[in-house]
């Protein structure tokens, strides 16, 4: 299975230098679609589990924002705190990700996949 990361931002503790800045996409998501997007994100399959909490990087006083667990829909890999930013700040998700959600009818197509039996490549890197 070949996957690509999406929804990682430089400001996040698990973001990388090559990731975009989150602040550029704040308050740009369609409020009417945000709930559907969050449901999709929260129902992704946990691929790489991270047992730690993350804090709101835009406003640390707000506290808990999720986890760094990597979720997937069989195409993309996103972090466990992405839904928080879409919900709390109307963070606009990349268009290609939205198109995948629409294509999948807003349902996770790999909900029943056992990843222990899969060979996974992320961003061209063989992970397991």
């Amino acid at each position: 299975m070949k996957l690509r990361t999406i929804g990682y931002y430089k400001e996040m503790p698990h973001g990388q230098e090559t990731d975009p800045y989150m602040e550029e996409f704040i308050n740009q998501e369609d409020p009417e679609q945000a709930e559907k997007i969050c449901n999709y994100l929260r129902n992704g399959s946990a691929l790489i589990v991270s047992p730690g909490e993350t804090i709101d990087v835009l406003c640390p006083e707000k506290g808990f924002s999720g986890t760094a667990t990597a979720y997937t829909d069989g195409t993309w890999v996103w972090p466990g705190d992405l839904a928080y930013y879409v919900e709390s700040y109307l963070l606009r998700i990349p268009e290609e990700f939205r198109q995948t959600m629409i294509h999948n009818n807003w349902q996770n197509p790999v909900a029943d996949v056992d990843f222990t039996k899969e060979s996974i490549e992320i961003n061209g890197i063989q992970m397991f």
Partner: protein, 159 residues
């Protein structure tokens, strides 16, 4: 004591902490189910009991899901020690925390737990990532394995 597994504050809506047969799992409600499953795949280390729980340098947390939203309940080392001491799945011996940053050299959680329990506590220095194969990466992200496991031994209280 053999290498056991003990962990996963997490899933099961409306549940309370409870012990699961064979491994003993402290389960909250929310994202813990994923952690519980992931912890089972980790290669055990002889002499250690694994404790899987969401963590940070100074505390651990149970993530509960209320009305579809995840909420964090923060616990200190005393609460975890109390739980472990009363849990059938833990019968003494060293502890390995499958818990992000609890072994961070800037934090206190693992050392405090070691002091409280009187046993060695092994914990990750940075964020922990558990792969489906059971492989673990310690680092700032899942691609960067720059962290390490650190053993914290019980220290006597200074007077």
């Amino acid at each position: 004591m053999g290498a056991g597994y003990h962990g996963g504050f997490g899933a099961t809506a409306g549940s309370h902490s409870h012990v699961v047969a064979a491994d003993s799992t402290l389960v909250g409600n929310g994202k813990g189910f994923e952690l519980k499953e992931a912890a089972k795949r980790v290669k055990k280390e002889k002499g250690f009991t694994d404790v899987a729980v969401h963590g940070s340098p100074d505390s651990i947390s149970v993530i509960v899901n209320k009305n579809g939203k995840d909420k964090e309940i923060v616990l200190d080392h005393r609460r975890l020690a109390k739980f472990l001491k009363s849990d059938k799945g833990y019968d003494g011996g060293k502890i390995r925390l499958l818990s992000c940053k609890t072994g961070s050299e800037t934090g206190t959680f693992a050392q405090n737990l070691a002091n409280k329990m009187g046993v060695t506590v092994r914990a990750p220095s940075d964020t922990l990532y558990i792969f489906p194969s059971g492989r673990m990466v310690i680092g700032p992200n899942m691609f960067t394995n720059t962290g390490r496991w650190i053993d914290y031994h019980p220290q006597k209280r200074k007077r």
